[in-house]
C-alpha cells in the first residue's frame, strides 16, 4: 500500500476534525458521500456513525451498536489496541486489515472530536486478487523451471516417468497417472501417489477413460468439466486412492513428433475442482514432461540399438575354429551415443575342410544411417555365405543390393576366408576399397596382402582382386580399419599413428597368439591417442597356431601337442 492511497484519508480527516461532535452522525457529514466505508466509534467502543457504504458492508454497524458485536474481530481488536495506547494514529506499520462482507479491507484510523476514532475502511479486494494472481504465476513459473530442471537431469525413461508423476502430485493434484503409448495390447501405467510412484501395466482399452485415447494420439485435451469422474474405470485409479475422484484432467504429453503418452490428474471429492487456469497450467507442465520423456525414449532406443549391434560383434570365447585362431578388438569412439561405422563378423566354418569367413568393414558416416547400412551389409553377406568361395562375386552382389539413387553413402570392407591345410592356414583375402590386410611373418617381417578393390555401395560396377596367402605356424594376418592408422596423437598430439608405426608394432608380434596381437595393437593405439578423441577402431587377427592342442580325450589326461 503506497502513500498515494492514504493521502485522501488524511485530507478528509483534517477537514472533518474541525467539526463539533455529533455532526458526523447526521446526514450531511463529510464522510457520508466518501467512496469508502467510514465508521465513527467513541472511546467506549460504541458505534456513533456509519456512512452508507459502511452499512452496506457491515449491516450491524449502526449508531448505538457495540463495536465488537457489529464488526469482525480484527477491526474490534484494532480499535481496542488503538484506544488503549497513546501512540500516534498512523504509525509506520501496515494498517490493520481483514475480511468483511466478502471484501478485503484495510482500516485507517483518524481522530474525530471528543476522542472518537474515525475508521476509514479502504477496499483492497482487487489489489489482493491481483497480488494473489501474481504470486500464483510466480509459483507456477518457478515450478515450470523446476520441472524442466528435474526432468532434464535424467535420460532414463523410468526415472523420468517417476519424476513427472511425483512433481504432478506435489504441485497439481491428489494423484497423477502417466499412461505411455501402448506396448502391444498392454498400456504401461505409472501411478503417482503421495507414497511414491508405482509402475505397472494395464490390459485395458484407453477408450474407457474419456479423452484418454485422444490424448494418447496427441489431440488437444477435452475440458475437465466435460469429463464425469464417476465414469473412470478402476484400472486408472491409483492404489490406496481413498474416495472417488471429484475432478479429473486428461492431457497429452506431446513428444518430438510422436505423442509421448498422456497424463491423468485426479482430485478427491471435496477438494477444489480444476480451474481453467490450472488446466492451462497442466498443459504447460505436460509439454515439458512430454519433451523430457520423449528425449529419454529416443536415447533409450539409440542406446539399445548400439548395444544390440555391439553385442553381435564377434561371439566371445570363439577363439579357435578348426585349427585357425581368431581374435577381434573394437575400440568405440568416445561419442558413445552414436553407433560407430566399424564392424566385423566371423562366420565359422561348418567343418574342418571348409573355410571360415571373416568380414571387417567401415561404413561412411555415423549414427542411425550408418547403423542401417551396417545392418544391411551384415545381413546381405550372411545370405551370400554360400557364394563365399568367389569373393568378387559376393562383393558385386552386395554392391548391387546397396547402390541407391538417393545417396552416395558407402562402405569399405575386407573379406577373409580361412581354412587349415596341414599345419598351415590358407587365406583368401579381398579388399573392397579398404586398406589391405597386413601379414606378420614368422621372421618379424610385415607385408601388405596383394589385394585391391572398389568401395561398395555407390559405383555401378566394382572391381576386386583376391590374394591368396599361406600362414605358417605363428604367422598372423591383421585386418584393421583406418581408425587405427588415422588416430591422431603421439608426442605432439596431432600426428597420425600411420601404417609405418602399425607395421613396426606388428613386427614384434611374430609367433604371438591372435588374442595377444589384437591386445598389442589396441594398447599401442590407445597409448597413441592418450585419451584424445578418436574414431572407431576395429582389428581382427587371424593366426596359424604354433601348437595345436589335438585332443584331451576325457578332460583329465594331457592331450598331445604338435608343432
Amino acid at each position: 500500500m503506497g502513500p498515494a492511497a492514504r493521502a485522501p484519508v488524511v485530507a478528509i480527516f483534517e477537514d472533518s476534525s474541525a467539526r463539533p461532535r455529533g455532526t458526523g452522525t447526521g446526514s450531511g457529514a463529510v464522510w457520508d458521500d466518501a467512496p469508502c466505508a467510514v465508521l465513527v466509534v467513541d472511546p467506549s467502543g460504541t458505534v456513533v456513525g456509519a456512512n452508507a457504504v459502511a452499512t452496506g458492508l457491515l449491516p450491524q454497524a449502526v449508531p448505538g451498536a457495540r463495536l465488537e458485536e457489529a464488526v469482525p474481530h480484527w477491526l474490534a481488536d484494532a480499535h481496542r489496541r488503538l484506544t488503549a495506547s497513546s501512540a500516534p494514529l498512523s504509525g509506520p506499520g501496515e494498517a490493520p486489515g481483514g475480511e468483511a462482507g466478502g471484501r478485503s479491507l484495510r482500516a485507517h484510523p483518524a481522530r474525530g472530536g471528543n476522542g472518537d476514532v474515525v475508521w476509514w475502511l479502504l477496499d483492497d479486494t482487487e489489489l489482493r486478487l491481483a497480488e494473489d494472481a501474481l504470486r500464483g504465476e510466480r509459483e507456477r513459473t518457478a515450478l515450470l523451471a523446476e520441472v524442466s530442471e528435474t526432468l532434464s537431469a535424467t535420460l532414463n525413461v523410468e526415472r523420468c516417468t517417476e519424476a513427472i508423476v511425483r512433481l504432478a502430485v506435489q504441485h497439481l493434484a491428489d494423484a497423477a497417472v502417466l499412461i505411455a503409448p501402448a506396448a502391444g495390447r498392454r498400456l504401461p501405467v505409472t501411478h503417482g501417489t503421495p507414497e511414491g510412484p508405482v509402475h505397472g501395466t494395464a490390459e485395458a482399452d484407453p477408450e474407457t477413460v474419456p479423452g484418454l485415447s485422444e490424448a494418447l494420439q496427441g489431440f488437444p485435451p477435452v475440458p475437465s468439466r466435460w469429463i464425469d469422474p464417476a465414469l473412470l474405470p478402476d484400472w486408472i485409479m491409483p492404489p490406496r486412492f481413498d474416495g472417488p475422484a471429484g475432478s479429473v484432467v486428461v492431457t497429452p504429453l506431446p513428444g518430438h513428433g510422436v505423442p509421448a503418452g498422456a497424463l491423468v490428474l485426479l482430485r478427491r471429492t471435496g477438494h477444489a475442482a480444476f480451474s481453467r487456469s490450472e488446466e492451462t497450467f497442466a498443459r504447460l507442465f505436460a509439454a515439458r514432461a512430454g519433451a523430457a520423456l520423449s528425449a529419454a525414449r529416443l536415447y533409450a532406443e539409440q542406446a539399445a540399438i548400439t548395444e544390440t549391434l555391439m553385442r553381435e560383434l564377434f561371439p566371445p570365447g570363439l577363439r579357435q575354429v578348426h585349427g585357425v585362431e581368431f581374435a577381434g578388438g573394437y575400440r568405440v569412439s568416445e561419442l558413445k551415443e552414436w553407433v560407430g561405422g566399424d564392424f566385423y563378423d566371423l562366420h565359422p566354418a561348418a567343418g574342418p575342410d571348409e573355410e571360415s569367413l571373416v568380414v571387417l568393414g567401415d561404413v561412411c558416416g555415423k549414427g542411425l544411417e550408418a547403423a542401417v547400412l551396417t545392418g544391411k551389409i551384415r545381413n546381405t553377406l550372411h545370405a551370400l555365405l554360400p557364394m563365399a568361395g568367389d569373393h568378387p562375386r559376393v562383393l558385386g552382389l552386395l554392391n548391387g543390393a546397396l547402390v541407391s539413387s538417393h545417396h552416395t553413402r558407402f562402405a569399405t570392407l575386407v573379406l577373409a576366408s580361412a581354412a587349415r591345410v596341414d599345419n598351415h592356414v590358407r587365406l583368401r583375402l579381398t579388399s573392397a576399397g579398404h586398406p589391405p590386410p597386413l601379414i606378420v611373418r614368422a621372421d618379424g617381417s610385415v607385408e601388405e596382402a596383394d589385394t585391391r578393390g572398389s568401395l561398395i555401395g555407390v559405383l555401378p560396377r566394382i572391381r576386386a582382386r583376391t590374394a591368396t596367402v599361406e600362414l605358417a605356424p605363428g604367422e598372423t594376418c591383421l585386418l584393421y580399419t583406418d581408425g587405427i592408422t588415422e588416430a591422431r596423437g603421439g608426442p605432439l598430439g596431432g600426428d597420425m599413428f600411420g601404417e609405418e608405426r602399425l607395421k613396426d608394432a606388428l613386427g614384434e608380434c611374430a609367433a604371438m597368439p591372435a588374442e595377444a596381437v589384437v591386445e598389442r595393437v589396441r594398447m599401442l593405439a590407445g597409448q597413441w591417442v592418450a585419451g584424445r578423441s578418436h574414431d572407431d577402431m576395429a582389428v581382427v587377427a587371424i593366426t596359424a597356431p604354433r601348437t595345436v592342442h589335438l585332443s584331451a580325450v576325457d578332460g583329465h589326461t594331457r592331450g598331445r601337442y604338435t608343432t
Binding site: G341, D362, C364, G365, K366, T380, A383, L384, P392, R393, L395, G396, L397, N399, G400, A401, V403, H407, T408, R409, F410, T412, S431, A432, G433, H434, P435, R452, G453, S454, L455, V458, L459, P460, R461, I462, R463, A464, R488, L492, G493, G494, D495
Partner: protein
C-alpha cells in the same frame, strides 16, 4: 599439420565461359562436405550448365570418408547434367584415398564412359537376391 593449426574450410568460385572452378581449402569432412555439395549444385544449376566443373584441391588439408562420399555425389550430379568433372591438383593423400577405395578412375572418367567393371554381375540392381 596439427588439429590446432588446421586452416578453416573455405570455397572460392570462379566461372568462365562453359567452365566453373571451385577451390577447396581446408578439411573436407562431415562438417564441411555439405557446403561443397551445395556450391556444386548451385553451379550445375546454371543455364546452360557448364561443360566442365573443376574442383581444385591444391589447398585441401584432409578428406575423410564423408568427404569422399561427397565427391561421389558431386560426380553423380555432374554426370546427370552432362558436365565433365575434373579433380585438379590432388594432394598425395587424396590420390591415395581414391586409389585404395578404387574410385580414382571412376571419378575422373568422362561422363558416359564408365570404366569397365569386372566384378560381380552386371546390373545387379534388380532383386536377384
Amino acid at each position: 599439420m596439427t588439429p590446432m593449426h588446421r586452416p578453416s574450410f573455405a570455397l572460392a568460385a570462379e566461372t568462365g565461359p562453359g567452365t566453373a572452378r571451385l577451390r577447396v581449402t581446408g578439411d573436407l569432412d562431415h562438417e564441411t562436405t555439405g557446403e561443397l555439395v551445395g556450391a556444386v549444385r548451385l553451379h550445375l544449376g546454371a543455364r546452360p550448365a557448364p561443360d566442365d566443373l573443376h574442383l581444385d584441391f591444391a589447398a585441401l588439408s584432409t578428406c575423410d570418408s564423408t568427404g569422399l562420399s561427397g565427391l561421389l555425389l558431386v560426380h553423380r550430379l555432374a554426370g546427370a547434367r552432362g558436365t565433365r568433372l575434373h579433380l585438379d591438383n590432388r594432394p598425395p593423400f587424396l590420390e591415395r584415398l581414391l586409389d585404395i577405395t578404387g574410385t580414382l578412375e571412376y571419378l575422373t572418367a568422362p561422363p558416359g564412359e564408365e570404366p569397365p567393371g569386372q566384378a560381380g554381375e552386371p546390373e545387379q540392381r534388380t532383386g536377384a537376391l
